[in-house]
Chain length 232, copies 2
């Protein structure tokens, strides 16, 4: 039996496109919420903050090309992207570490609306075990293994201090969790086959800082030009 290039296995979407699909989904949801039923690639590109050539290229990986003169059907494109990402199905998620960030994540409406269902909140601190956050009780960290198996949890979220992150990741992997979202300010190592994504809340601030710096430079240049009486 030779390797066959089926339409399913061949269609590998570049990682950069994968990372933009949720952004398109968010933009389409905003358009739909505003009552917009169809949109041009330019409209959608503007809403998503990318250029429209890149958008069209990205959507072509999904076999989605829009209709000339009409554009994209907002609802249908939302469905196509959601299906491609996998968020049309239900993803049980556990959150470990129920400090301020864990609280915020447990209450975050954006998870549920995307198919992520928080099935358990875990914390090593017994003082937190009385708490109920967004309708979910905080349970001992040692329950991780039982909960992961009971709910077939594939995705774990680490919101602990840095020092605890590697231990939590090891326990998640041992419990069969194969995707980890790490909010802790620590690099964690995991075996092959386990995906980790690290969230750094300062990255977006750094991008803003870059633009602030440019604005300041341009402003200074304009002032110099004005002082010299020059024209642009």
């Amino acid at each position: 039996m030779t390797a066959r290039t089926s339409s399913e296995t061949a269609r590998v979407i570049p990682e950069a496109t994968v990372a933009r699909l949720p952004v398109y989904l968010r933009a389409l949801t905003a358009l739909a919420d505003a009552g917009i039923r169809t949109c041009s690639s330019e409209d959608l590109a503007t809403a998503a903050g990318v250029n429209s050539a890149k958008l069209r290229k990205d959507l072509s990986y999904l076999g989605s090309y829009g209709t000339r003169g009409v554009g994209y059907d907002v609802d249908y494109l939302r469905y196509q992207i959601a299906r491609e990402i996998g968020v049309t199905q239900d993803w049980p998620v556990v959150i470990v570490g129920i400090g301020n960030l864990g609280h915020a994540l447990a209450s975050y409406s954006g998870f549920r609306s995307r198919g992520f269902r928080v099935v358990a909140l875990l914390d090593a601190d017994p003082e937190r075990h009385e708490e109920v956050v967004a309708g979910v009780a905080v349970r001992p960290f040692d329950d991780l293994d039982a909960i992961a198996h009971e709910h077939a949890v594939a995705i774990g979220v680490i919101a602990t201090p840095a020092a605890a992150a590697q231990d939590v990741a090891d326990r998640m992997v041992a419990a069969g969790i194969t995707s980890i979202l790490n909010f802790a300010p620590a690099v964690i190592s995991v075996p092959d086959g386990v995906d980790v994504r690290k969230v750094d809340l300062s990255i977006e601030l750094q991008i803003l800082a870059y633009h602030e710096q440019r604005k300041a430079h341009e402003h200074a240049r304009d002032e110099v030009a004005a002082a010299m009486g020059g024209e642009a």
Copy 2:
């Protein structure tokens, strides 16, 4: 006076590269923390999760090419990137909305280590005005204008519920703030010249879901192949 293409004005860095610079900076910081002084573009690309050709292209915009056979000097490249982003300078930041997420952001060590100094925490709720979070007192939202001018705040962070976000953004713009990081699950509109970046905490989860779905498909295909007695 004709428009002149000076080395400074000509060097416009593509937006996608700008978005990756903080990721390189984080990877370089991790290498430095591990005691690594020089690294190849492959090492750095792996640590940053991009391919090495893209990394070299990105760094070429900074005029940074490494040394053949030696690679990049970790500390110097950190400095170059930090300077390019603008995080070698101090950025006063205000956070509005001191619920769970605002608390988590106020305590987030990753801001301070990147040059972002939280100069004020503001909340409309008088019950929060007694609180001190990470050494900073929570003050009334109405103090925004005075604080923004006193500290020359250029960057504001919105961590309020969705319903309050647009009003907060309007007040920030009126107070002279020209960059806004929006954590509220709401789209806000601002005048030209003001940059907004919206953080969606579910985006990284969606990227993980995409890979989980692929892993599940591959596993199912392997099982079918095994049941058919086929070889890969």
